[in-house]
Amino acid sequence: MLNNFLRILLGVWLTAMALTTNAQDRVLTGQIISQEDGTALPGVNVTIKGTTRGTTTNSEGKYSLNVAANTTLVFSFVGSVAQEIAVGNQSVINVRLVSDQRQLGEVVVTALGIQKEAKGLGFSQTSINNQELTVGRTTNIANALSGKIAGVRITGSNGMTGSSSNIQIRGLTTFTQSNQPLFVVDGIPVDNGGGVGGSGLLNTSNSQTGVSNSNRGIDLNQDDIETMTVLKGPAAAALYGSRAAAGVIMITTKKGKAAGSKKNTVSYTGSYNAVEVNRFPDYQNEYGRGTSLNAQGQPASPVYQPNADQLSWGPIIRGQRVGSAYSAADRTLFALPDSTVLTAYPNNVRDMFRRGMNMQHNVSFSGATDKSNYYFSYGLLSDKGYMEGNQLDRHTFAANASSQLTNKLTLGTNIQYIYNTSKRSQIGNQLSNPLFRGWFLPRDYDLKNEPNTRPDGSQVYFNANTDNPFWTLRNNLYNDNRSRLIGNVNLTYKLTDWLTYTGRAGTDMFTENRFTVDAIGARGQANHAVAGVGAIGNRNTTRRETSFYNTLTATKEFGDGFGVTVLLGNELNQINQFDQAVVGNTLATRDFNNINNATNFIPYYEQLSRRLAGVFANVDLRYKGWANLTLTGRNDWSSTFAKGNRSYFYPSASGSLILSDALPEVFGNQDALSFLKLKGAWAKVGREAFLFATATYFDNTNPADGFGPQIQYPFLGQQGRTLQDGAGNPQLGPEFTRSAEFGIEMKFWQNRIGLDITRFSQRSTDIIISVPIAAASGFTNVARNAGILESKGWEWNLNFTPVRNTDFKWDINFNGARIRNNVIQLAEGVQNISLGPFTTAQGRIQAGLPYGTMFANTLLRTPQGQMVVNPTNGLPFLDPRGLQQVGDPNPRWTGGVTNNFSYKGLNINFLIDIRRGGDVLSRVIGDLRRTGVAAETAELPRFDANGQPLRNYTIEGVYGNGSINNTLNAPILTNRESQTLAAGAPAVLNQTTISGQQYWGQLYGFNAPGMFIFDGSWTRLREASITYTVPKKWLSRTPFGSLEFGVNGRNLLLFTKVPHIDPEFNVNSNQNLQGIEFNTLPQARSYGAMLRMSF
C-alpha cells in the first residue's frame, strides 16, 4: 500500500516540476493578521512560490511586493500554517494566518534546555502543547498524553480519584526497577514516584492491602504547563544520565509574554466535569442467592442460601417469600421482617457508585516587558470520585519570573507550590475492598437499602466473611495530604558573544502525611491487616531532591554554512528521604480516630539518600541547516555502587540529513514532496543500582506466609534480628541500555501531509536484578548484573490536513507504535522471575518470552487446544503440570487518531485511542461467571418447569482421565467408558451434559485463572472537545482580551470484545506488571464544560 502511495506521489511531483510561470510584474499590498486574536503579525514571510523572491511584513503586519499576475504567494510564519494564495488579478491580499501548534517547535528545547531546530533533530522527541494537553481536563497529566505520542503508552490504574498512571516509552528497558521516565520540570528533575499501591506501612506494596495511590506527577497543574516534551529513550535523553534510560518527560511551565500591545494579562481557565463509571458488568436478574448443587457436586433443586457464600445459583426470582438473612437480634434492631419477598435489584452494584465531579479553576497573572517577564497563577482542582469517600483537592501556586539585569546577565526563577489532600478507599485482593465480592452481589440483595451499620458502629452484612461495601467505604479510611515545593533559580551570563554560562539550582521537596484507619470489626486486611481489632497509622514522609547544573555553551558559526555548538557541563543530584510511621492497633473504641486510641504500637523509621554526579559534553555540528550531527558523552558517579565501580561513561551520537534542503535542484521546484529528512541515532545510557545493594544487613524479623498471617517483632517482649534474605554484592556495576534508531520524515504538498516513521531497537545488558539463588545457601537471592532485555519497534506519525482554507481547517493525526519486548537472557540458573501479583496468575520475566508473559493454573487441554473432560461427570480437569503460559499482555500495536476541525472560532477535537492485541486476565469476569451473576450465565434456562436443574450445557472438548502421558507431554485421552484410547485413535468428543452452575463454575473456578484470558483490544473515544473562541472584534468593547468556552469529555465511548470490564487497568499501579486484573475499579468517564478567558 505504501508502495503505491509513493508511486502516485512521485507522479504528482514530476507533474508539478514541469510547471513554469510567466512573469508580469505589478505591486501587491496587504496585511497579515492572526486568526486567533486578530493581532497584526510582523515578520511574516511573503514569497513568490517557486522562487526565492519575497519580503516580510512590517511591524503593522503590512507588506508590499512586486508580483506577476499568474503567480502564487506563500505566506509563512513561525508557528502558523503556511497559506498559498493565487494572485489572480487582485491588488490587495489580506490574510488571516492560523496558528499551527505543531509547527511551534521550529526551535525546540531538547535535553538540558539545549535549543535546536526541530527539523534538524536526529533523535526522537515529541512535544504536546497546553491546548492539546488540556482537551480532556484530566486530573493526572500523565493521562493527558494517552494516544497522543507514538511509542508512549499510558495505562491508568483504575478510575479511582487520584489513582496513578503507568507510562511506558518504547516498551521496557529494565527488569524489576522502575521503567517510568524521568520527570524534569523547568530543567530540574522531580519525583514521579509514589504510585505503588499498598498499605500505610513503609515500603509495603502488595496486592493484599491498601488503596490505589497517586503517582506524584498528579501534583502538576496542567493549566500551568506550556509544553510537555517526551524525550524518547536513551538517544534523546542521554544527557540526563543515569535515570533517563526509560526516557524523559520534560515539562516547561508557562512564562509571561506580552500579548500584542498589552503588557499584563489576567487569565482564567475553569472547567466542570461530571465523573462516572465507564463500564458496568452485564448482570442477570432472574436467579437468587444459593446453589443448585448438592454436597456431592451434583445438580439438585435450588436452595436459597440467604447468608452463605455469594453464589447466585439459587431459585428463580418470582416474588416468593424467603427467610431473612439476618439474625433475630438484627431483625429486632432494624425492624426487619422474618421473611422477605424475593426480588431482583438490577442496580444493586451500581448503587455503590455515585456521580462524581471534577472542578478546576485557574487564575493567572502574567506579563512581559522587553527585559523581564512574570507569570503568577493559582489553581484549584476538586475531584469528587465516583465512589463514596473518594476525594482529591489540589491547590497549586506558580510563580515564574526572569529578568535581564544587564546585557550579559539574566536571572530567572520558577517556583511551584502544591498542596493536595486525598481520601481513598480500599482496593486489592482483600475483604475490605468494597468490590472484592461487590462485583458479584447476589441479584436479590438490596445493598443500598438493607442495613450496613448497627447503632454501635459494628457492621452487618448478609455475608459474614466480607466487609459490607458501604461500611468499609465509611469506616476503613485512607487520607493523605502533601505539601510540595518545586523550584529553581537560574542564571545566564554571556561571557562573550559566543560563550555563555548557565547555572541552575533547583529542588523538589515534599512532605506527605498519611492517616489510615482500619475500623474495629473490619473483616478484611484493609490498610494494616490487623484482623478486626482496629488500627490507626500515621506516616510522615519527607523527600528532598536537589539538583545543580552548570553549563558552558560555545557557539560559532563559520563562513560557508558551517556551525558548531559545544556544551560542557556537570550535574549534582541528591535525594534524601525520611519516613516515619507509627501504627497503633487494637483500638479501644470506634468513635475516636486518633492513634491515642490504640493499645499496641509499632513504630517505623526509614531514611535513605542517594547521590549522583555527572559531567557531560555535547557537540553539535551543523552544515547549512541540512546536515546535523550531535555527539554527547557523559560520565556518572553514583553512590549506589561500591567505591571502585562508581564511575561509568556512556556516549551518544545522532544526526540528520535534510535531503529536501540539501538538494534544492531536485526538490525546489515541486509541490509534492516538500520535505525529506533522514535521521539516525545511537546511544548508550547507564542505570544505577537500587539502594543499599552492595552490602548484606540484618533485618527486623517478620516471618510471614504470604496469606496475611505474620509475626511482628518485638514479639513476646523481645526484639529479633534476622540475616537478610538478599545478599549484598559489592561488585555491582551499572546496567546499560543501548539504543539505535533510524527514521525518515517526509512532508507533502505544503506540509498538508506529514509522515514520520522511525525504527528503533533498544538492548539493556548487565541488568541489575535480585537473582534468586538456592535458599539452602542461607540467602534467597543476591543482587547481580545479569540479564538482557530487548525492545524493538516501529513508530509512525502521520499528519494530514484534508481541508485548509481561511475559515475552515481539518487536521488528522494518526500516531502509533508497534513494540516488541523480549527477554533475551536471565541470570544463569534462573528460569524466571515473577512480577506477581499471585502465585497462580503471575506475570513473568522469562528468557525467550515477551516481558511480563502471563502464567497461571489452567484447565487441561490437548496440544490441539481441546479441553479434556471427565467422561463420568462431564467436568474438566485442572492441568496437573502446574502453571502454564496463558497470555501475553503486550499489545500488538497501540495508537491514536486525533481529528481537529476548526471553523472560524469553532474548534472540534476528538481523539480515538486504539489498542490492538495484548491479553488481559480478568478475575472479575471469572467471578461474575463462576458465581452466576453474569448475564450470559442465564442465557439458557437453569431449571425445568418443576424447578429441577437442567443439564443443558456440554463442555466443548474430548474425553480423558486427567493425567499426563509424560513421554508425549500430553493428556491421556479415553473413550466414554473411561478406557484409555490406543495410540493414534481419534479423540472422543465430549457429550456428557452438565448444568449451568457446573459449566460456569468449573470453567471459571478460581483455581484455574488461566481461563480468564481475553483479547484486550479496544478502541475508545478518549477525548473530545468542542470549543468556541469569540472573535476579537466582538470583544473590543468588553474588558475581555479573549474568550473561549466549550464542552469536553474523556473516555466517552469504549468498543471492546472483552465482556463486562474496561480492559484498561493496571492493578500494580506504576509497577511493571501488566495485564492481570482482580476486583479492580473501572476507568472513569468524565464530561462537562470549560471556560477560558483573559482580561
Partner: protein, 521 residues
C-alpha cells in the same frame, strides 16, 4: 575511550569543587541507616525461634495435617486444592526458602558461627538443637535436601543435596554436640528471655535434645537404619544418667507461645482470620473422637449443629461434632461443620450470651485471643514413643503405663486434666493383637498430637494408622487418591539449584525411613 574518561574525571573534580562540594565522602551514603550490620546471639535466637514456631505451626501444619486428615478444606481456594493433593511447586517457595533455610536456619547458623570466647555455650546448644529439629522437618517433608554444604552464604550458592539417611545421622551427631554445649558452664551471659521456649533453661533443652533424638530413632527404626538394641541402650543410658534425661512433665513441652495482639498471634488462628471458611475439621479426626466420646473435642472443635449453650455445656455423646470428608470441599462453604476451637486458637473472647441463636451465624462470630501455643514435641508424645518402643521393640518400661501417661499429659495440655482418669478407664487399656494395640496406641497419639506439625503424618507414613479416607478419585485422578508422602520441591529452589531434581508426584517416598509397604497407602 580511556583518554576520554580521564579528561572527564579531571573535569568532574574541577566542577565538583566549583559547586562547593567536597568529593571525598560525597558518595559514601550507600550504607543503610535502616538496617543493622551485626546481630548479637540473643536477637538471632528470638528471631529463629519465632520463625520456627510460626512456620511449622502455619504452613508445615497446614500441609501435613490436611494430608493426615486432622483438618479438611472447603471454599475452593488454595487450601482446598491442597486437600485434594494439588500442591504446586510454587506454593512451597516461601516455606522452604524464606522461612526455613534463609529464615530460621540462616539465623541459627549465624549463632553457631559466633566466637565461643564471647558467646555463652548455651546459645550453641540451643541453636544446634533447633537446627536438628528444623532439618528433621525438612528431611521428613522433602527427603534429600542440602545439608553438609548448606548455609555457607554466597560462598556456595548451589549446595549439593544429601541423602536423608545421612542427614538423620548428622542430626543425631548435632544433638550430641548440642548436649555437650548445654552441659558447659561459662561466665558469659546466658540466654534468658531471648529463649521463648524454655527461658534459657539448659536442662529442659537437654531433655528436648534427648527426646528429639528418640523421635528420630523411632523413625529410623522403621527402616532398620538403627537397631532396636542401640535405641534401647540409648534409652536406658539416658534414663540412668545422673544429669538430665528425657522430658518429665508437660512443662517440658517444646512449644512456641503467642500473644493476644494482632499479627503476633498463633499462625493457625491468623490464617482462619484471613480465610474464615477455608479450614474446617476432618471427619477422620472427628469420627475417631466421636466414637470414643472424647472430652477433648470440647477444646479442639466447636460443637455442631452450633448453639451458644453448647460452648459451656459441650456434647458428651458420640455425636455433636461434624467434620468434612477430605477432598469433598467442592468449592462451597458449609457453616454447619465443626470448626477449630480454643486448643488451636486461644481463649474465647466472645461471651456466649452475645451470640445469635441461629445455627450458622453464631459460629462465624466466635472470637479467640490467638494465644494458643504451637506444639512441636510434647511430653505426651514422648510417652507414646516409649509405649511404642516397649510394645514393638522390646524397649524398657511398661507399654500400658506409658500409654496412659501419654493420655493424661494430653488431657493436661487440653486443660482437661480432671477428665483424664475417666477417659483412661474407658479407653486407656491396650487390647487385642499387637497390631490392634499399635493401632489403638497411634490413634491416641494422633488425637493427642492434634495440630502438632508433621508427627501425626509421620506416624501414618510409618504405621498406616489411623485409617485415612481416600479423597474422591474424580477430584485428583492423577494421584489416584493416594495420600501424599512428600511435598514437591519448591520451584524457585529447583530453578536455582541444579543439584535438585523435581519429583514426579507427591506419592514418591523421599525420606529413607518411609518404607511401609503394607496397609493403606
Amino acid at each position: 575511550m580511556n583518554l576520554h574518561t580521564l579528561s572527564f574525571r579531571t573535569l568532574s573534580v574541577a566542577l565538583l569543587l566549583l559547586t562547593g562540594t567536597g568529593c571525598a565522602n560525597y558518595f559514601e551514603v550507600n550504607t543503610s541507616p535502616n538496617l543493622a550490620a551485626t546481630a548479637p546471639a540473643n536477637l538471632l535466637l528470638t528471631s529463629a525461634e519465632g520463625m520456627l514456631g510460626f512456620s511449622t505451626g502455619g504452613e508445615v501444619g497446614r500441609f501435613s495435617l490436611l494430608f493426615v486428615q486432622q483438618i479438611a478444606a472447603q471454599n475452593g481456594r488454595q487450601t482446598e486444592a491442597w486437600d485434594i493433593y494439588n500442591v504446586q511447586s510454587t506454593e512451597v517457595n516461601n516455606l522452604f526458602r524464606s522461612n526455613l533455610y534463609a529464615g530460621a536456619l540462616a539465623d541459627l547458623e549465624e549463632i553457631i558461627k559466633k566466637d565461643p570466647q564471647s558467646t555463652h555455650p548455651a546459645f550453641f546448644g540451643i541453636s544446634k538443637t533447633l537446627k536438628a529439629y528444623s532439618y528433621s522437618v525438612l528431611a521428613d517433608l522433602w527427603g534429600d535436601v542440602p545439608f553438609s554444604e548448606a548455609l555457607q552464604g554466597t560462598k556456595n550458592t548451589q549446595p549439593k543435596v544429601d541423602p536423608s539417611r545421612d542427614i538423620y545421622n548428622g542430626l543425631i551427631r548435632l544433638l550430641d554436640e548440642a548436649i555437650v554445649e548445654l552441659n558447659k558452664t561459662s561466665s558469659l551471659t546466658a540466654p534468658t528471655t531471648a529463649d521463648y521456649v524454655y527461658g534459657g533453661n539448659a536442662q529442659r533443652w537437654i531433655r528436648l535434645a534427648n527426646t528429639l533424638k528418640l523421635r528420630l530413632y523411632l523413625h529410623m527404626l522403621n527402616s532398620g537404619a538403627v537397631t532396636a538394641d542401640a535405641v534401647n541402650t540409648f534409652v536406658r543410658a539416658t534414663e540412668a544418667s545422673t544429669t538430665v534425661g528425657f522430658m518429665t512433665a508437660v512443662a517440658d513441652d517444646f512449644q512456641q507461645r503467642f500473644e493476644t495482639t494482632a499479627n503476633r498471634q498463633n499462625p493457625v488462628h491468623q490464617f482462619i482470620l484471613t480465610r474464615t471458611d477455608d479450614i474446617c475439621t476432618s471427619t477422620t479426626m472427628i469420627n475417631l473422637m466421636n466414637s470414643k466420646a472424647d472430652p477433648r473435642r470440647a477444646a479442639y472443635f466447636t460443637p455442631a449443629p452450633f448453639s451458644p449453650a453448647l460452648l459451656t455445656t459441650p456434647p458428651t455423646s458420640t455425636s455433636g461434632y461434624i467434620g468434612l470428608a477430605n477432598g469433598t470441599g467442592g468449592n462451597q462453604v458449609r457453616n454447619t461443620l465443626s470448626r477449630i476451637h480454643t486448643f488451636a486458637r486461644g481463649a474465647l473472647t466472645t461471651a456466649a450470651a452475645s451470640l445469635p441463636a441461629g445455627p450458622t451465624l453464631g459460629v462465624a462470630q466466635l472470637t479467640y485471643d490467638g494465644t494458643a501455643a504451637v506444639q512441636m514435641l510434647t511430653f505426651a508424645e514422648y510417652n507414646f514413643i516409649r509405649a511404642e518402643l516397649a510394645l514393638r521393640y522390646n524397649g524398657p518400661g511398661d507399654t500400658q503405663t506409658f500409654f496412659q501417661r501419654g493420655i493424661t499429659a494430653s488431657f493436661t495440655d487440653a486443660g482437661l486434666a480432671a477428665q483424664a482418669a475417666a477417659y483412661i478407664t474407658r479407653q486407656g487399656t491396650l487390647t487385642g493383637t499387637p497390631d490392634q494395640q499399635l493401632q489403638q496406641l497411634i490413634e491416641e497419639k494422633y488425637v493427642s498430637n492434634f495440630m502438632v506439625p508433621m508427627e501425626p503424618w509421620n506416624d501414618w507414613r510409618r504405621t498406616g494408622y489411623p485409617a485415612l479416607s481416600r479423597i474422591p478419585a474424580a477430584v485428583n485422578p492423577a494421584n489416584g487418591g493416594r495420600v501424599p508422602r512428600a511435598l514437591p520441591y519448591p520451584q524457585q529452589e529447583v530453578d536455582a539449584n541444579p543439584n535438585i531434581t523435581q519429583r514426579n508426584n507427591l506419592s514418591e517416598r523421599p525420606v529413607f525411613w518411609d518404607t511401609r509397604t503394607t496397609g493403606p497407602q
